[in-house]
Structure formats: C-alpha cells, structure tokens
Amino acid sequence: MTDVVTTGLLLDGLIALLLAGLAFRLLRTRDLFEAIMLFVAYGLTLALAWIRVGAPDIALAEAALGAGVTGALFLNAWHRLAVRAGSDDRLPMEADP
C-alpha cells in the first residue's frame, strides 16, 4: 500500500464499508420497518460521504431530501399498510375516527 494510511482514508473506508453493508442488509431483510430504518441510516451515512467528497450542498440536500423526505414517504407508506392490516401498532396520533 504505497500511500500512507491517513486517518481520512480510514474514515472514508469506514463510510464506504458502512454504505455497502447497510445497503446489503437493507435489501436482504424480511421486515419492512427494519428496511426503512436502515434506509434512513443509509441516507445519513451518504450525507457524511458527500461531505468527505467535498460537496456540502449535496450533503445538506441528501440529509434533508434523501433521508428526511424519502424516509418520511416510506414511513407513511408503511403506516398505510399497517392501518390496512388492522394490526395494533398504529402511530399514536391515529385516533380512531
């Protein structure tokens, strides 16, 4: 390994590993809620990666849009399924109309 192993490189290696691992885990799970949580985590790690790559704008957008809004959309969809399924784990504010 010619170039010296700097701390930056270690951090990037960790982030890259985390990204791949989260993605693999996310695509293999059987439970939807777990998948969505992993997806939000993946989004935030990705925001970290964008900072490391030197793109702060993208980091902010990724965190807000990639993890935030998309995560909210998925949770909303999950909620729709949960309400449909009639299972009891509905969100607290969902008082029965």
């Binding site: 290696g13 791949a20 059987r30 702060p56 704008d57 957008a61 807000a64 399924l81 009639g86 504010m93």
Partner: protein, 302 residues
C-alpha cells in the same frame, strides 16, 4: 486494501435470519403486506445466476473507473470558475443550477409537478391525516400530546427561519432552494401529521397555483428574457442576481408545497374496495357500462 464487505457476495440467499417471524403468520403477527418471506421471489437458481453475472460486471466497472483518466484535466471546473462572476452568484453549485444549466432545474421542477399530478390521478382514498375535529378543538396544537406539541412549537419556527436563511444564502454559501424546500416540507409534514395543517385536497386552487408557480415562474422568466438576450433563460446584464433570487424563492415554496402534497396525498388502502367488484376486467378501461341506448332519433347514431 479495505474493500467493501465483499464476503457477503450479492445474491447469497442466507437462510432467513433467526429473528424472523415463525413461518405460519399467526393472527397477531403483522399482515402479509408488511413482510416479504420471499415466497414470490422466483427460483433461487435464477437469483444466483444473476448475482454471478453482476459480480464480474461490477469488478470490471470499478477497475475501469479507477483507470478512467479522461477527466483528469479540470476543464469544466476551470471554465465554471472563470465564468462564475458573470452568473451573478458566488456559489458555483447555484451558478450551475440556476444559470449555466437552468433548463435542467426547470425540468427538475417539472418532474416534481408531473409526480404530483400523477399521484393526484391515482384515485385518492380517504385521508386519515389530521386529528378528528373533536381532538384538535379540545387541546389546541397537538391535542392531548404534550411531547408532540412541544416539538411543534420548537421545530416549525426554526425550520421556517432556517429555510429563509438557506434560500437567501444560497447564492454564496453551499445551500439553496431545494434544501430550503426540503426543510419547509419537513415542517409541513410535521404539521399535517399533528393535524394542525388541515390537508388541503388536490382540488384546492391555492395548492395548484403555488405548486405550478415554480415551473410557471421559470418559464415566464425564460420567455420574458428571450427578446432581450436572444436566448431562453439568458439573464440580461445586471438582472442575474435578482432574477435568480426570485426564482430560488419561488422554487423553495413550490418544492415545499409539492413535497407536502406528495406526502399527504398517498392513497389509503380500504379493507375492501367496493368499486372494484363492479369493474369488468375485459370491459371499458374507465369502467363505464353501456349507457342505455339513446333514443333512436339520435342524429349521430349511424
């Protein structure tokens, strides 16, 4: 070389993890919609084959990219740096987004509008959002939920403030309309989940005007400058900064409204869709049964 965790080659169909629900879904376990036991995933052999095919493609791709020297010469960044002053903004990304490649951003907002209209076109089910009238009337914002109302009081104002800051600073600092829009959308989602923001139906005109405002603003500006500068969206001398700022503001609001609309407007899944039974699978795509034959005197009947 710390490559990614390649030990878990894709396509490894590991036995379903131990923590998984027992095979037979008993009454209490969440519905089949929420879980996917892979019963419809297709034969494992096919999955393995696809995996085996993709792994070498991946390696070739990565090695190729590693060797790709073509873009070593920083032609584009230098060009952007050279022309940045003419764009009226100092943040290069905003310069690219709103001046150099303004057309792309316009189309991007058009994609959002398209998605919004498409989601509207799915027949929106009933809306489960918002507290029933009784709950919100009694406890004010957040009803009987102190924790939620606390978050609301704290988060929403700061979100608005930061959004305005982001839009304003977008021209110089790494921020911009989309980040601001996302923040506003987050605030909007919080409010609608808490039931404070009565979700306006898609039919409401204000929603349509604001949502379409982003694209309309862009196109009108583009056409307005056409006679002066001879090209669509080419800002005349000195007008770049104010126009870009105006567009950023319009973009931020439009993005926020569209994202809230996309969030709120998801069709709910009724336990049993009564309308479905009347639909004849080989019949009229719009489910229109044959209207009783109009009076034979109908001139149009051949």
């Amino acid at each position: 070389m710390m490559g990614p965790s390649s030990s878990h080659g894709p396509g490894v169909s590991s036995p379903s993890p131990s923590g998984d629900a027992p095979t037979g879904p008993d009454a209490s376990s969440p519905s089949p919609l929420l879980r996917d036991h892979g019963e419809r995933d297709g034969p494992p052999l096919l999955r393995w084959l696809l995996g085996l095919f993709l792994v070498p493609v991946g390696i070739l791709l990565a090695l190729g990219l590693k060797g790709a020297a073509g873009s070593r010469d920083p032609r584009i960044p230098d060009l952007i740096a050279k022309h940045l002053p003419e764009t009226g903004v100092s943040n290069p990304v905003t310069g690219v987004l709103l001046n150099f490649r303004g057309y792309d951003t316009l189309l991007e907002i058009a994609v959002l509008v398209a998605a919004m209209v498409a989601v509207w076109s799915l027949d929106r089910g009933q809306r489960h959002f918002g507290l029933p009238a009784s709950a919100s009337a009694s406890g004010g914002a957040g009803g009987g939920r102190p924790f939620l109302s606390a978050i609301l009081r704290l988060a929403v104002p700061t979100a608005f403030l930061t959004a305005v800051y982001l839009t304003w600073m977008g021209s110089s600092e790494p921020a911009g309309a989309f980040q601001a829009g996302a923040l506003l959308a987050g605030a909007g989602v919080l409010l609608s989940v808490a039931g404070v923001l009565r979700p306006l139906t898609a039919a409401a005109l204000p929603v349509r005007i604001v949502a379409a405002g982003g694209v309309a603003g862009f196109v009108v500006t583009g056409i307005a400058v056409l006679p002066f500068t001879g090209a669509f969206l080419a800002y005349p001398e000195g007008w770049a900064y104010p126009l870009i700022l105006g567009l950023e503001a319009a973009l931020a609001v439009a993005v926020a409204v569209i994202l809230v609309e996309l969030f709120v407007d998801v069709p709910s899944i009724p336990a049993h869709d009564a309308a479905l039974d009347a639909v004849d699978p080989y019949g009229d795509p719009l489910g229109r049964a044959l209207a009783p034959d109009p009076s034979p005197a109908d001139p149009e009947a051949p």
